[in-house]
């Protein structure tokens, strides 16, 4: 399990290579990348600032990774979450899961994303032409997490 909380950007192919580490027994790799969009609602985003709780962030990502690992037969997983000032088009978060089985890889990646939305100690602030505001948590995200039981 590779967990990183970082400001620096990441390269998906390089991260997949890190996870594969030369192994040839992997059947399926799923990835998910979250990006800063240029528009939220009807407002143009100029900048997104991600505040985080440094002492907790990596630990909470690792807990979420462990939950996925306990639930599906994974051969490895990566979670990278960026913080700091990001701009439209920038990558925010990367999840990679690998398994013999494609369903396990897909479900684990989706599960991890659902948990990150509600349990990773990060807070998004958007800067638009109309000023800056904190992004509200979506109750919908709680429901998505809760469906995993």
């Amino acid at each position: 399990m590779y967990i990183s909380v970082q400001h620096e950007d990441f390269d998906i192919s390089a991260e997949i290579d890190r996870l594969k580490n030369g192994r040839i027994d992997l059947g399926a790799i799923a990835t998910f990348t979250g990006l800063v969009r240029d528009i939220h609602g009807e407002k143009n985003i100029k900048k997104m600032t991600l505040e985080h709780f440094p002492a907790m962030a990596e630990k909470e990502l690792a807990k979420i990774g462990k939950k996925a690992n306990d639930r599906w037969p994974l051969q490895g997983l990566t979670i990278i979450h960026r913080f700091g000032e990001l701009y439209p088009g920038d990558q925010i978060v990367l999840v990679i899961t690998t398994s013999h089985h494609r369903e396990a890889a897909f479900n684990a990646a989706q599960f991890i994303m659902d948990w990150l939305k509600t349990d990773a100690p990060f807070w998004k602030k958007e800067e638009t032409e109309a000023g800056t505001h904190w992004v509200d948590a979506k109750t919908d995200d709680d429901k998505k997490k809760d469906r995993w039981g």
Binding site: L116, K117, A120, W123, K124, W134, A137
Partner: protein, 83 residues
Amino acid sequence: MNILYFARIREHIGKSSEEVILPDQVTTVADVIEYLESLGNNYQNAFAEPDLLRAAVNDEYVPLDYNVSNADELALFPPMTGG
């Protein structure tokens, strides 16, 4: 007790952390919040919406009725918007 604030709550209070000596009657996170509200409008504004308040003690998420003491580190923040 060392208290950390994040995001909207940090901005309302105007600082990211502070050292607070808890009065004797304070036993839970909710009590700490009530005590902090007595310190000024900025705290009242920060905690105006109890539904939008989350806490961690010693780097673990806890409910607001969790027991705390001066030796603990408390963090207060709005619901997370990671991912």
